[in-house]
């Protein structure tokens, strides 16, 4: 049999299984007596062993065999996992992971597995101390594992249920959920384990597998009948094997980038064409221009969708470093990931990994208290960190939440005053002010404030990164209750729908995603910023764009004018302009910020008529 064509499949499938092993090991570590993680581990390692043996990767096969034997011993003797065993398993999984590429490149024999192999064998039969006494099983010649890929998956569809967090008796509610599921079929791999669900620490997130003939829709419906159900997610991300089974091809990101750039250029050209076409109403030119416009718009949608990938590709990398950090700091952490199936532009995805990890590490390091401190303040010893992605209208919201001590506002203020980042009488009234201060370069990176405030390392770096990606960041923190970072990212880069507004001779673009509505105010406030307008019976903080941009020409204070109402996340503001011009797709080009460039400039774009304009960042106006 020609095995070459299976190499890629072996790599992809092994990685998938090893990623699952990492997750299962974490689960097992948290619940050493539970059998589900152990069973899952056993199956995955068994599968890897079979694949490695089939491919003739002897060292990898031996290593997985030893790991499998250890797991089997533990399972059959009902031994619980002590931390050394779990660590050993982690080492073995790491080694397997590191060995995939070398093995696939024909360097299996060079893999340095001896030490871990010996450790695994000793652990599997503690009474024998000599190495190799358990007998080497030459798995690659047994022929037992001739099926290259795709067996060993646990039975049933994976289901994830989130209960309303304000619900009462979440544990009992979860019991109802499981009961409803059991009416449809066989439930397995319940996580957290059933005992843990009944503990007060249970936060309302539940996953399990359900083997049933019922449709996804029927499952969702049945589970919702349990009440207080916020969301039910049925189904799996496709495995590499099933992805390959569909008619799909791999495309390098560079090609998609090129395609997106070309479509972006097309969008601009189409806008230019449309401007010419309106001068000839009823002409074939106008008809054709309209048709090209629609086609380009469809092409844009297609290329945008082609670039989407599930955030799980990044999120799934985090549990391991979080666990390692928690162990190192002797903290207990329940790390929960939600919304892994939400999709985001591929290139954004690659860029959010580091800043997110940064925030998560901060949450473990500075946000969460030690188990003793937590118990003293009446909390569960185990801290909770939530990483959740949800789709909002035109953007994706990523939330990083801990239930730790919260940011010590006073300590931050003290520090800021001493370092003259803050006047001696200034205060930090809102979380927004606090975030702005923590995000000041040179402030939050100071070591001292880290120790005192409990947070802050490199927040400026995180803010900068997300802003560069067109994202917005907000912060909510409460002493004793924890800290939440909310990160909003556009679904895709580059092409956005924008409202073009005019003040004086200049036009500006306001991204539509930020706009709530447009209307008119009876009177333009006299002050450029810091004033208010009354709009539909409500009082909104207002900005007069003419004043802010310093546009020449007579001011029109006191007169009627158009206003763009913008959502800043925690509040709405009115942006008063001279004229609302049009709505169009623009391609936002980042601008290299020269010194002194106002913060409210987010980029530049070229309009249909070829005139360059600035794109506003409504989040930082006022």
């Amino acid at each position: 049999m020609d095995l070459d064509k299976y190499v890629a499949l072996f790599r992809a499938d092994s990685r998938e299984h090893l990623a699952q092993c990492n997750a299962l090991l974490l689960e097992w570590e948290r619940a050493p007596t539970a059998s589900a993680p152990l069973d899952g581990l056993f199956r995955s390692i068994h599968t890897i062993k079979g694949m490695a043996a089939t491919m003739g990767y002897t060292r990898l096969a031996d290593l997985s065999h030893a790991l499998e034997s250890l797991l089997a011993t533990i399972r059959d003797n009902e031994r619980t996992a002590d931390p050394e065993i779990v660590d050993l398993c982690f080492q073995a999984v790491d080694l397997l992971e590191a060995g995939i590429d070398p093995a696939a490149e024909g360097r299996d024999a060079e893999l340095p597995v001896d030490e871990v192999l010996a450790g695994l064998r000793r652990a599997a039969s503690p009474e024998t101390t000599g190495e190799g006494e358990t007998g080497e099983v030459d798995v690659h010649r047994t022929g037992e594992f001739a099926i290259p890929v795709g067996f060993g998956a646990p039975a049933g569809r994976p289901i994830r249920v989130t209960l309303r967090h304000d619900g009462e008796m979440l544990g009992a509610r979860a019991a109802l959920v499981l009961l409803k599921a059991e009416l449809l079929g066989k439930v397995s791999a319940v996580f957290p384990p059933r005992e843990a669900i009944q503990s007060p620490a249970f936060g309302g997130d539940l996953s399990f597998r359900l083997a049933t003939a019922a449709s996804d829709e029927r499952i969702r419906e049945a589970i919702r009948e349990a009440g207080d159900v916020l969301s039910v997610i049925v189904g799996d991300r496709p495995t590499p094997a099933t992805r390959m089974a569909g008619r799909q091809v791999r495309v390098t990101l560079q090609r998609l980038d090129d395609l997106l750039n070309q479509v972006s250029e097309l969008v601009v050209a189409t806008n230019q064409l449309a401007e010419i076409a309106v001068t000839a109403p009823g002409s074939p030119l106008e008809t054709l221009s309209g048709r090209i416009g629609r086609l380009v718009s469809q092409a844009q949608t297609s290329v945008t969708e082609a670039r989407l990938a599930p955030v799980a590709e990044v999120f799934d990398r985090f549990p391991r470093p979080i666990r390692d950090l928690a162990r190192q700091l002797e903290k207990r952490v329940a790390f929960v990931i939600e919304g892994g199936d939400i999709e985001l532009d591929r290139s954004l995805l690659d860029d959010i990994g580091d800043p997110l990890l940064h925030l998560l590490r901060n949450a473990v390091d500075h946000g969460l208290e030690t188990p003793e401190e937590r118990v003293r303040s009446g909390k569960t010893p185990e801290g909770r960190i939530l990483l959740r992605a949800t789709r909002e209208h035109n953007s994706v919201l990523i939330l990083v939440r801990d239930d730790g001590r919260g940011i010590d506002r006073e300590a931050v203020v003290d520090k800021a005053r001493r370092e003259r980042f803050l006047g001696s009488t200034s205060t930090l009234d809102s979380d927004e002010d606090l975030l702005a201060l923590l995000g000041r370069p040179g402030f939050s990176t100071s070591r001292e404030v880290t120790g005192v405030s409990g947070r802050g390392v490199g927040i400026d770096v995180v803010l900068t990164r997300f802003r560069q990606l067109g994202g917005r960041v907000s912060l909510h923190t409460k002493p004793g209750a924890g800290t939440t970072f909310e990160l909003r990212l556009p679904l895709t880069l580059a092409i956005v729908q924008a409202l073009i507004v005019q003040v004086g001779p200049e036009r500006y673009a306001v991204p539509l995603a930020h706009i709530v509505e447009t209307g008119h105010v009876k009177e333009i406030p006299a002050r450029a910023s810091g004033g208010t307008i009354s709009y539909r019976g409500a009082t909104l903080p207002a900005v007069v764009l003419r004043g802010v941009t310093g546009a020449p020409g007579p001011g029109r204070a006191g007169r009627r004018a158009p206003v763009v109402v913008v959502d800043q996340g925690h509040r709405r503001i009115g942006v008063v302009v001279d004229t609302l011009v049009s709505r169009q797709h623009i391609v936002v080009e980042p601008v290299d910020a020269p010194r002194g460039m106002p913060r409210w400039i987010n980029g530049a774009a070229i309009l249909g008529d070829g005139v360059p304009i600035l794109v506003l960042d409504p989040m930082v106006l006022v």
Binding site: M169, G171, A172, A175, L176, L179, G227
Partner: protein, 120 residues
């Protein structure tokens, strides 16, 4: 015609309150019971569309009453009324066949939400 309900609680205060909440929402409370044994008896006799059931009652508690009622009618729709801190009992009641639960002190909206779920 409204759906019929049997209200079981040993405290007349709670029975009155639940009855008020349900009656105002258009349900018909056809009977009351102040013990588990009475609840079973009245269920057999009235065959209501649903039952609200306190957990701790004299002369057969709510959980045993659930077991007995389910024997009479496997499809019985029983809503447990529990106090905070009784999660283990609620889970037991659910395993015994109760279909849903609410937690005292009641918010009328929560009670009605649960009742609607059960009777839909």
């Amino acid at each position: 015609m409204g759906q019929t309900v049997l209200v079981c609680d040993d405290a007349i205060f709670m029975r009155t309150m639940i009855t008020d909440i349900l009656t105002q929402a258009g349900y018909e409370v056809v009977g009351e019971a102040e013990s588990g044994a009475q609840a079973v008896e009245r269920y057999r006799e009235l065959r209501p569309n649903m039952v609200t059931m306190d957990i701790v009652m004299p002369d057969m508690g709510g959980i045993d009453a659930v077991r007995e009622i389910v024997k009479i009618d496997p499809d019985a729709k029983i809503l447990m009324c529990s106090a905070m801190g009784q999660q283990a009992l609620v889970v037991e009641a659910i395993q015994a066949g109760a279909k849903d639960f609410v937690v005292k002190p009641f918010q009328p909206s929560r009670v009605l939400e649960a009742v609607q779920r059960l009777l839909s």
